[in-house]
Amino acid sequence: MSSLINSIDFPYVLGALIKVAIFWITIMIICAYAVYAERRVLAVIQNRLGPNRVGWQGLLQPFADLIKFIFKEDIIPMSVNRALYVMAPVISLVPAMMVLIVYPFGPDDLPLPGGEFLTQVVNDLSTKLGLGWNVDLRTVDLHVTHFNVGILYVFAMTGLGVYGIVVAGWASNSKYSLLGGLRSSAQMVSYELGLSLSVVAVLLMAGTLDLTEIVRQQSGWGGMRWNIFGGTSAGEGLKSLAMAVPAIFAFFIYLISAIAETNRVPFDLPEAETELVAGFHTEYSALKFALFFIAEYVNMTTVSVLATSLFLGGWNGPFINVFPWLGPIYFLAKVFFFLFLYIWLRGTLPRLRYDQLMNFGWKFLLPAALFNIALAATIAVLVY
């Protein structure tokens, strides 16, 4: 058994767990306030007030909502398939949450304030307990892990989220739910193609699938060499600007597909309330509904994080080399920009019809993404 204990790198596991906890809380707070922001911004767009009673300007509203969700009666309708009905919200939330281990929140080797002291304390403690750890907390990487296939991992996990919706629609034993689930699975599978193919143009520039590495490559030009400006590690000077053309096309294809992938207005056909009541979660209430709700916002955050990291330079920005702690601030600001964009679109655009949605996805976005890959490859060959 001692070989088993020796084969575990405890400091690494503990560090990863602490980071996961911190990032998880961050994401939860982002999601909670995205919901609040959505209600307030929509209210401004529609010329009304929105929630402003709980706390100053309604800032405690997310917590009030959470308490309400927890204490409401958890109704399970008679004729549902019980096991699948209970499983569905979990299936939809867990893969969405699993993505956050590859979010690049900030640069590597950030100097941690008070790191010297912490290192001393932990090492002293481990010597006292005879654990023999030798940790270095003077600098910290703001990501849980990074691996060779980071982006594929993100796509794999977001792809699994479809099952939550499909299973919810099927298990609810209601025609609105079933139709919502079927529509949603068809829509997500269709738009996943546009989403992943638009990313290929950026991958051609980056030459890697590792999310942290892609962000690191965009740190040139004083932190402004973002992929959307044609920034890349391969080309030099003005010539590399040519790559900006496919990158900008890819950015817009990505953005549209991402909105459809997360079932948001104007592509929110699966929950079109005028036709389908509430789509796949018609029969859900209380905490189970809240899980679907959180999953939707976590997915929105994920596609925003991906857009930020792939196109807008991730944590890069002006003065990043002087003040490295600006990194996470830039990162969160960019993510919030995308979340705001979602809300803005919701307040502006009417919903598409289902056949329009499918035609747009298959007959416009997919060919456009394929053409864009060819364009990016051609420019890459000509320029580099």
């Binding site: 088993l4 794999a156 068809a186």
Partner: protein, 201 residues
């Protein structure tokens, strides 16, 4: 037994994923309701992806989840829901003796595995670790370029074939649908009015 003396975390991962895969595989074949079978198969595929990770095949593990769990199985679930398949009550009666073939087949397979293990022994893992995207891509686009291109032709054939098969048979039926679609596609003032109201509401 000396293998068990040096047990490591990777062994635990293997055992966890392997037992999950076997239980889920039994679930696939023993359930009456096809949707439970499909969920079982999804679990098998995800745990196989975990096993691929213990073999350092990162790319294949990711592709396993994206292609199998994320695309193929969605198709299965979609068809099951679309056809609204009920649980099959009638068990097979015509071929009820056929299942006893499974036992000799299983024994034959065990014998085969034993024979293979005898010839190759129990080799140590190789020093080079294939599995990163770069190594897979290098093989795919150099030595095995022709099979790779051939699979793309295969995919194209599958697309055309499945569309041909799933197409409705009679001409009148398709004409009817097309007519309904053209009517639906014509912009009517009612649609515009209602959408505007929605914005103000």
């Amino acid at each position: 037994m000396e293998q068990f003396a040096q047990i490591q975390v990777s062994h635990l991962f293997f055992l966890a994923f392997a037992s999950l895969a076997v239980v889920a595989a039994f679930n696939v074949i023993l359930q009456r309701n096809p949707i439970y079978s499909a969920i079982g198969l999804i679990v098998v595929m995800c745990s196989l992806a975990g096993l691929f990770l213990t073999l350092a095949a990162e790319f294949i593990a990711a592709i396993q989840i994206i292609v199998y769990a994320g695309a193929i199985m969605v198709l299965f679930v979609f068809v099951i829901m679309l056809l609204n398949v009920r649980e099959e009550d009638a068990k097979a009666d015509r071929q009820k003796y056929l299942k006893f073939l499974a036992v000799p087949l299983f024994l034959a397979l065990i014998a085969e595995v034993m024979a293979v293990l005898k010839t190759i022994g129990n080799p140590a893992a190789s020093e080079t670790v294939p599995g990163a995207v770069e190594t897979v891509a290098e093989g795919m686009f150099t030595t095995y370029l022709l099979p790779f291109e051939a699979t793309s032709v295969l995919i194209l054939m599958a697309i055309v074939g499945s569309m041909l098969l799933a197409r409705r048979e009679s001409k009148e039926e398709t004409d009817e649908i097309e007519e309904a679609l053209t009517v639906a596609n014509q912009p009517t003032p009612i649609v515009e009015e209602s959408s505007e109201e929605e914005v103000h509401a």
